[in-house]
């Protein structure tokens, strides 16, 4: 079966001051695939995600998105195709669960009714349809992360980036969130890249592709 390169790194080099974080790295992420990026703290895992999302730019090399250089896309238009989940959830505290989720769609000028339908469907899927009027402070860590995931996939992005999504969760919540992400990846046919340093998470998904970042190198585990 022919695979389609969703994302490709070509000789990417990224420095922070005098520290070389990534040195001429190459990588291919196929459409519909699920990847972990692992490594020690400070090795450059989050840097990979920031390069993809155009939060930072590489000193050298090219990143191709669906065959076209990332630089050729307007930042905001590219970001509409990429969902992001953070370790710190990044929910807006003065907004309810539903408002937090709808924000992702309304900010793009989408029809509220259509957004509402999709939001309720996803909230039911993640088991939070009874919490639409709740505020983030009224939720557990696991619930907040599920809300964040729903917000990230509301607009049906082609790629989901998750930066240590289980970092602030206990073992049970972490396992639930990772299962949810994997199931959504399959249901929504979404390419996913998850940054983690948790061995327990990695052990849970041995079938997923693993990449390692170490001393400027970025390589796939054989």
């Amino acid at each position: 079966m022919a695979t389609f390169n969703m994302l490709e790194f070509r000789n990417i080099t990224k420095n922070f001051g005098e520290s070389v974080i990534l040195h001429e790295v190459n990588a291919i992420f196929h459409k519909g695939s699920f990847h972990f990026i692992c490594g020690e703290s400070g090795s450059g895992k989050s840097t990979i995600l920031k390069l993809i999302n155009q939060e930072i730019a590489a000193e050298k090399g090219d990143i191709l998105w669906q065959g076209q250089p990332l630089k050729s896309y307007e930042k905001f238009k590219l970001r509409r195709q990429i969902g992001v989940v953070f370790q710190s959830f990044e929910l807006i505290h003065h907004m309810t669960v539903l408002e937090n989720i709808l924000l992702a769609g309304r900010a793009l000028g989408k029809n509220r009714q259509a957004l509402l339908q999709r939001a309720m469907k996803l909230l039911t899927r993640v088991g939070l349809n009874g919490k639409i009027e709740a505020y983030p402070e009224q939720l557990s860590g696991g619930q907040m992360q599920r809300v964040a995931i729903v917000r990230a996939i509301l607009n049906k992005p082609l790629l989901l980036l998750a930066d240590e999504p289980t970092g602030n969760l206990d073992r049970k919540a972490a396992s639930d969130v990772m299962n949810l992400l994997y199931e959504l990846h399959r249901e929504e046919q979404m390419t996913m890249i998850v940054v983690t340093h948790s061995e327990e998470v990695l052990a849970q998904f041995t079938q997923a592709q693993r990449w390692y970042v170490k001393e400027g190198d970025f390589y796939e585990q054989e």
Binding site: N53, F76, K77, L78, R79, R80, Q81, I82, G83, V84, E90, I92, H94, L103, A104, R106, A107, L108, G109, K110, N111, R151, N155
Partner: protein
């Protein structure tokens, strides 16, 4: 921008103002104050501009003609002089008629001035106002001229006062506009700081930064419009209760037409809106470019 994006921008701007009520009210009131001051100052300028012209005309000298002299003949002679720019004849009856306003309801006080008791006068404008003292001295010795009058010092003093008033008025206007700018800038800057997380999320999901900026421009614009409404009312009220009364008592002041009035209001509104839009744009630059 699509219709739904516009609707979102407007509703979010409204929510933004509501969430920062205190800052918004303070900015709105200060904007109203600045715009009101500008409007009233402009009206003053129009009114006293006319007074200045009147005073300037008084820098011309007046010679009162003897009863037994022909005023028009004397005026013709004077007009031919090379130091004279222009002459006007003021008939005695015209002066009495102008005075009648000040003797409103006491017309009997004017009886003494009736029947040609007031001499005709010739108003002379010199080509070079510096020569006024010398010319006055010469004219006093001319047969047929009873009196030479030129309220030089008073007129020049009034001129100086008017110039100073204009200068300080412009300076105060500039200061008020600058303060208005900073009030709106700080209000929005604070609002953006409080909402930086929201901005971050909006930009990460792919909101067009220009559309996001629009929301804050709308907030700044709304504050300016609120200020404009208040300042328009203040300007209209001050016109109705103050300037109209002023012109009733001082007829030499330039009358304010409705065109003048609305032009002043338009200028104050445009200045207020420009300041607020500029402040809003600059306040958003750092947050939206770096979010």
């Amino acid at each position: 921008m699509s219709k739904s994006e516009l609707r979102y921008v407007l509703s979010d701007a409204y929510i933004g103002i509501k969430r920062n009520k205190g800052g918004a009210i303070a900015s709105l009131l200060f904007t109203a104050l600045s715009m009101s001051f500008i409007g009233i100052f402009l009206l003053f300028r129009i009114v006293v501009g006319g007074a200045t012209d009147y005073v300037s005309s008084q820098l011309a000298m007046k010679v009162y003609v003897s009863q037994n002299m022909s005023t028009s003949e004397l005026a013709t002679i004077l007009e031919e002089k090379d130091f004279v720019k222009h002459v006007d004849i003021e008939k005695g009856e015209d002066l009495v008629n102008r005075l009648s306003f000040f003797f409103d309801k006491r017309a009997y006080l004017l009886d003494a001035f009736q029947n040609g008791q007031v001499n005709d006068a010739i108003r002379i404008q010199l080509k070079n106002s510096q020569q006024i003292d010398d010319v006055a001295q010469v004219l006093r010795g001319v047969h047929g001229i009873d009196k030479v009058v030129y309220p030089q010092e008073l007129a020049q003093l009034l001129q100086k006062i008017l110039v100073k008033m204009t200068f300080y008025g412009i300076a105060i206007t500039a200061i008020l506009l600058i303060v208005t700018f900073f009030m709106i800038y700080m209000t929005l800057h604070l609002a953006l700081y409080k909402r930086h997380q929201e901005l971050k999320v909006k930009l990460l999901v792919g909101m067009n930064p220009a559309v996001l900026r629009c929301q804050f421009l709308v907030e700044g614009f709304s504050l300016a419009i609120g200020g404009a409404i208040i300042s328009t009312v203040v300007t209209l009220v001050s016109y109705h209760f103050f300037f109209s009364a002023l012109q009733t008592f001082f007829v030499f002041l330039t009358p304010i037409t409705s065109e003048h009035l609305w032009l002043c209001i338009l200028i104050e509104i445009l200045l207020g809106i420009s300041m607020s839009l500029l402040a809003s744009y600059l306040a958003t630059r750092k947050w939206i470019n770096n979010a």
